[in-house]
Amino acid sequence: MIAYNKEALKKRLILQKVEEWFAKKLLTKEQYKRASYQYNSGLYTPSIFIKIGLYLLTSFGMTTGFGIVSLLFVVDRAQYYQVFFAIYGFVCVGALEFLIRSTKHYKSGMPQAFLYTALGFLMPVMFKIFGGTLEGTNTILKIALVYLPLLIAATIRYNDRGVAFALMACLFTVYFLLIMKIGDMAKLIMPFAFMLLSIAIYLWTIRAKAKEEFLLWDDCLSVFETVVLLVFYAAGNYYVIRESSVQFFDMHLNKGEDIPLAIVFYLFTALVPLVYVYFGLKKKNKTLLWIGVLTIVLAVLTFKYYYGLHHPEYTLTIAGIIAIAIAYFSINYLKTPKYGITFEQGYEDETFLSSNAEALIIAQSFTQASHQKTTDFGGGSSGGAGATGEW
C-alpha cells in the first residue's frame, strides 16, 4: 500500500500533537524531550523554502539529464519514443522508491519532483498500450480513462496532495464526458449528476477521515473534500450553468429569456455558501469555512455579472462597508468565546510566516492603491508619487 514506513508516519503525527501540547504547557520540558526521543520518526521534512528549492532543482536537473540521454540515443529512433518514456518513467519511480526507503525523504520536495516527472512520462506510455482498446471514444476521454488507474495507484502509494488533486480533476473529466455521451438528456441532468457525485465523494471522505486505517492519507482526503465542495457549488451556480449551457449544449438565449429552473439555481447560488459557512462554524471545520467565504465572493460576483449596476464605485464602497461591518461585529461578539468559537489565534496560526506575509501584502496592495489615486489626478508622466521610477 503506502510506500512510506507506516510506523514512522504515525510517530510523526504523534510528535506533531506532542509539540502542540508542549506549546500549550500541558507537558513539561522533560516529558517533551522524552517523547521527542521515543517518537523520533527519522523522516526528512525540511522547511517549506528548502522544499521549494529541492523541488525546482531536482526537476530541472532531472529533465536536463533525460535531455542528454535523449540526445545521445533517441534522436535517430524517434518512432520508439514511448519506449524511452517508459524507461525514464521507471527510472523516476525507482529513484523515488530508493529515496523513500533509504534516505527517508518525506514531502521534502524531491519525492514530489520524481513522482510528477514519472507520471508525466508514463501517461503517453499508458495511452499507447491501452488507448487502442477504447474504440469510438474521443481522445480526451481516452486519455482521462487510461490515466485514472495510474493516478489512483499513485495517490494510494505516495499519499501526495498534488496527485490527489489531479485524480479528482481526472475523475470529474471522465464523469462529464461519459454523461455527454447520453445525448440530449445530458444537459438536463448534468448539474444534478455533478452534485450527486460530489455528495457521494464527500460523504465517503467524511467517513474515511474518521477511520483509523485512513489516518495516514488524511492530506489526500482533505484535498478530495476541498475539491468536491467546490465542484458541488459550481454544479449549481447560476453563472456556470448558464454559460456552460451556451458553451456545451448549444443553447441560445434571447434577450429576456432565462435558463430552465432559473429560480432554483439563483437560490442555490445564494444559499449554499451560507450553508457552508454555517456548517463550517458548527462543525468547526476550517475547510468548509474557507470555501464558504470564497463561495460568498463567487455568489456576489455572479449576481453582479447579470445585474451589474454599472457603477463599480458604489459596489466597491458598499461591499467594503458590509465586509468591515461583518468583521467588526464578529470580532466584538467573539471577544469572549461563544459556542466554542474565538477570535484568539489558534496554536497552528501562531506561525512566523503569517504576520510577515501580512506586512508584505500590505506593502503590495496598499502602495499600489495609494499611488493609483495620486496618478489618477495627475495627467502627465510625472503625476505619480514616484513609484514608477521614471522621473
Binding site: 500549550k24 529541492l54 458604489y314
Partner: protein
C-alpha cells in the same frame, strides 16, 4: 489513534497529565482569527478603492478643499484613536489588545499619504520636488511603525523611502518597473539595500524591535540581489559584480542558518545559481569552445543541480567546516 493514552502507556506522562490533555482537546476553541482578519482587510481595500473612485468622479461638485478637509479630518481621527489607545513604547514586541488597532493605524497612515500626495498635486506643496512628498510620507510611516509596533507600516515606509530615491520595490514590481539600465539607479538600489540590511542587523544586535528584522531583510535581499545581478549582466567589471553576489549570498546564508529562516537560504541559492550560470556561459564564450559548448552546458545543469540539492540537504555539515555556527 489515541495519542494521550499511547503516551501514558509508554510511561511518558502520568494519568493526571493524560486527563489534562484529553480535557484540553475536548474544550479546544475554534479560532476564526485569520478568517475575520482577511474579511476586514478585503473590506478596507474595497472601501478605500471605492471611495477613491467616487471622489475622483465627483471632484467637480465636491471641490478640492472639501476633499482635503475630509481626508485630514479622518486622518486626525485615526491618529487620535491610535495615540489614545496605544500601549507605551518598548523596544520589544508590543501586542496591542484591540484587534482593530492595527487597521486604524494603517488607515490613518494611508490617509496621511493620500493627503500629502493630493496636496502636492493640487497646490505644489513642495514645488517640483516630488521626492520630498514621498520622503515625508515615508518618514511618517517609519515613525508610526516604531511607535505603534506595526510591520505593515514598516513595509510601507521602506517602499515609500525607496520610491523617493526612484525605486519601486513592492514585491511584484521589483523587476517590472525598475529600469536597471541606469547606472545611478542600480548603484542607489545597492546602497539602499545595504542600508536596510545594516539597519536590520543593528536592530537585532541592540534589541530595538528585533522582530522587524525579517521585513527589512526581505526587502534588502531582493533589492541587493536584483541590483547586483543587473550590474553583472549589463556593465563592465563583471568580476566585481560577481563577487558582490557571492558576498551577499554568503551573508544571507549564514543569517538564514543562525536564525532558522530558510526563506533567505532559498533566495540566496537561487540568485547565486543564476549568477553562477551566467558566469559559466560568459567563461565558455570567452574560451571559444564552439560546438562543445552545448554539450558542456547540458552536463553543467545536471551537475550543478545535483550539487545544489546536496548543498540544500547537507548545508549544516558543509558550512560547519568553514564557519562555526551557533548551536
Amino acid at each position: 489513534m489515541d495519542i494521550p493514552q499511547l503516551l501514558r502507556n509508554d510511561g511518558i506522562i502520568t494519568e493526571e497529565d493524560c486527563q489534562k490533555i484529553e480535557n484540553y482537546e475536548q474544550t479546544k476553541l475554534f479560532s476564526v482569527h485569520w478568517e475575520l482578519r482577511t474579511i476586514l482587510y478585503a473590506g478596507i481595500l474595497l472601501l478605500t478603492s471605492g471611495i477613491g473612485i467616487l471622489v475622483y468622479k465627483n471632484i467637480d461638485t465636491i471641490g478640492h478643499q472639501a476633499v482635503l478637509a475630509a481626508i485630514a479630518l479622518a486622518c486626525m481621527g485615526c491618529f487620535y484613536y491610535c495615540f489614545k489607545n496605544k500601549d507605551s513604547y518598548s523596544n520589544q514586541l508590543v501586542q496591542n489588545s484591540s484587534p482593530l488597532f492595527d487597521y486604524i493605524a494603517l488607515l490613518g497612515n494611508l490617509l496621511f499619504g493620500t493627503f500629502i500626495g493630493y496636496f502636492q498635486y493640487q497646490y505644489q506643496l513642495f514645488g517640483n520636488n516630488l521626492w520630498a512628498a514621498t520622503l515625508v510620507t515615508g518618514i511618517v510611516f517609519f515613525v508610526g511603525a516604531y511607535l505603534l509596533d506595526h510591520k505593515g507600516l514598516l513595509s510601507l515606509g521602506i517602499t515609500s523611502l525607496a520610491s523617493s530615491i526612484g525605486l519601486s520595490i513592492t514585491p511584484l514590481q521589483l523587476l517590472q518597473s525598475n529600469n536597471f539600465d541606469s547606472k545611478s539607479l542600480t548603484f542607489s538600489a545597492i546602497v539602499y539595500g545595504f542600508g536596510l540590511a545594516v539597519v536590520a542587523k543593528a536592530g537585532e544586535r541592540e534589541r530595538i524591535k528585533a522582530h522587524f528584522s525579517f521585513t527589512y531583510n526581505n526587502f534588502a535581499i531582493n533589492l541587493l540581489f536584483c541590483a547586483s545581478l543587473a550590474s553583472l549582466f549589463m556593465y563592465e567589471l563583471k568580476p566585481i559584480s560577481f563577487l558582490l553576489v557571492l558576498g551577499i549570498s554568503a551573508y544571507y546564508i549564514i543569517h538564514a542558518i543562525n536564525n532558522q529562516r530558510f526563506y533567505f537560504m532559498l533566495l540566496s541559492v537561487i540568485y547565486t545559481y543564476i549568477a553562477m550560470t551566467y558566469a559559466f556561459y560568459e567563461l565558455m564564450d570567452f574560451m571559444h569552445l564552439g560546438g562543445w559548448a552545448f554539450a558542456i552546458a547540458q552536463y553543467y545543469f545536471v551537475g550543478t543541480c545535483g550539487g545544489m540539492v546536496y548543498f540544500l540537504i547537507e548545508h549544516k555539515k558543509i558550512l560547519n567546516k568553514f564557519y562555526k555556527l551557533k548551536k
